[in-house]
Symmetry: C2
């Protein structure tokens, strides 16, 4: 992609790591400390739901972001980076799928309707596009691999569509934070209370995470030295 | 920005126009046909609220998108395009500010709390960043204008930050659609009814609009002819 004059990807990659760790900690504090913890089987169905935000954020959004930045940031050969990129994306997709399953399980065991909200539509669309992008990337760039000319033409689309899907994943997360908090607030949770602020600030950190990942992907790995100066050899 | 091999901005610009018109029609059908119409002063406070989605979507998101694509798409001189770009953005910002005022007016006249939701936080943040970006762009690129070297270095940041703010505006719109529909559904609106589908499909059209505007901004205006072939002159 290139074109970001005078800025290298590295600081945005570090920012993505820091914001990823921060938002992971925040969503865990929310679901464990404020919402009672996580469980796959429980008579308290809310504990099943709690798996959903944790797996979607840590598994899908944060790990998905790490998979994107890894391709440029890691100091390995192209083939090794490609393998790492597709493995982390696969783990992210599987954790995302389990996270979505947890939401359906919570709905079904609690008698709540499925798939009526914008969050569910955007979220399900995102993971479908994510899967398509993964399979397309695997076949074109990894195995069996397309002809060199096709790969060259496909790469910018792979980057562009990948970033679109990643931004969609961040948007789905934002919709999810808003939806869950609205339900809690309409059941009496304080509108300006600690928990509401924690969830909203987590959502803001996730927006900054998304921006860091995208900039990290479009900025060049190394910046050209300024034109007009040359290093003075002091031999 | 460049780098999108083999694809020109034009089809995405046309797509942005079509999706803009479609989503404008959809939000008007929602607010006028389903929600009772628009009014700045009314005893039915819901009519004041209805100004909010209409002005934010048509005024801020659609017109803001047109301002972005206009800079590349219009066949005028750079100075004229710059003037059109900044005038459309100014109109978008003013309509957005009036739209936000309508939301506060509705809340205040109906005894509803202000600024507790993620939608309000992201939305207010977006219009503040939009204003900062406009002032920065005006001073740097229009009047009085910075030194050429600074302008050259600032341009990619202007594009990148502008697109970030535009994506934030689209995200705020998505949060708004979800929030309003959740309120309506918790007051008895059918979860799988016509109105719910209309709002969700409007939100999906707005996501596609946002993607079209961003691609239109990053794709080159003209694509290089394929290498290896040259036109045969037939005189």
């Amino acid at each position: 992609m290139g074109g970001l004059v005078g800025v290298s990807a590295a600081p945005f990659t570090y920012a993505a790591h820091v914001l990823g760790v921060a938002s992971a900690a925040m969503v865990l504090v929310w679901c464990v400390h404020f919402r009672g913890g996580l469980a796959f089987e429980s008579t308290n169905k809310n504990l099943i739901f709690n798996l959903h935000p944790v797996l979607m954020l840590i598994g899908f959004v944060i790990l998905g972001g790490e998979a994107i930045v890894s391709y440029k940031a890691l100091p390995f050969s192209k083939e090794v980076k490609k393998l790492i990129h597709l493995i982390i994306h696969a783990i992210a997709a599987v954790l995302g799928a389990v996270g979505i399953y947890a939401a359906f399980k919570f709905h079904n065991e609690s008698g709540i309707a499925n798939l009526y909200s914008l969050h569910s539509w955007v979220g399900l669309g995102t993971i479908c596009l994510y899967g398509i992008q993964w399979i397309f990337g695997f076949v074109t760039f990894y195995f069996p691999g397309a002809a060199p000319a096709l790969r060259r033409n496909a790469l910018p689309w792979h980057v562009l569509f990948g970033l679109f899907v990643y931004v969609l994943a961040v948007a789905a997360a934002e919709l999810g934070f808003l939806e869950k908090l609205t339900f809690l607030q309409s059941s009496g949770l304080a509108k300006y209370g600690t928990e509401a602020f924690l969830v909203n600030f987590t959502a803001l950190v996730v927006i900054l995470l998304g921006a860091s990942v995208v900039i990290s992907a479009v900025a060049p790995a190394e910046v050209e030295p300024p034109v007009g100066y040359s290093r003075i050899e002091t031999d």
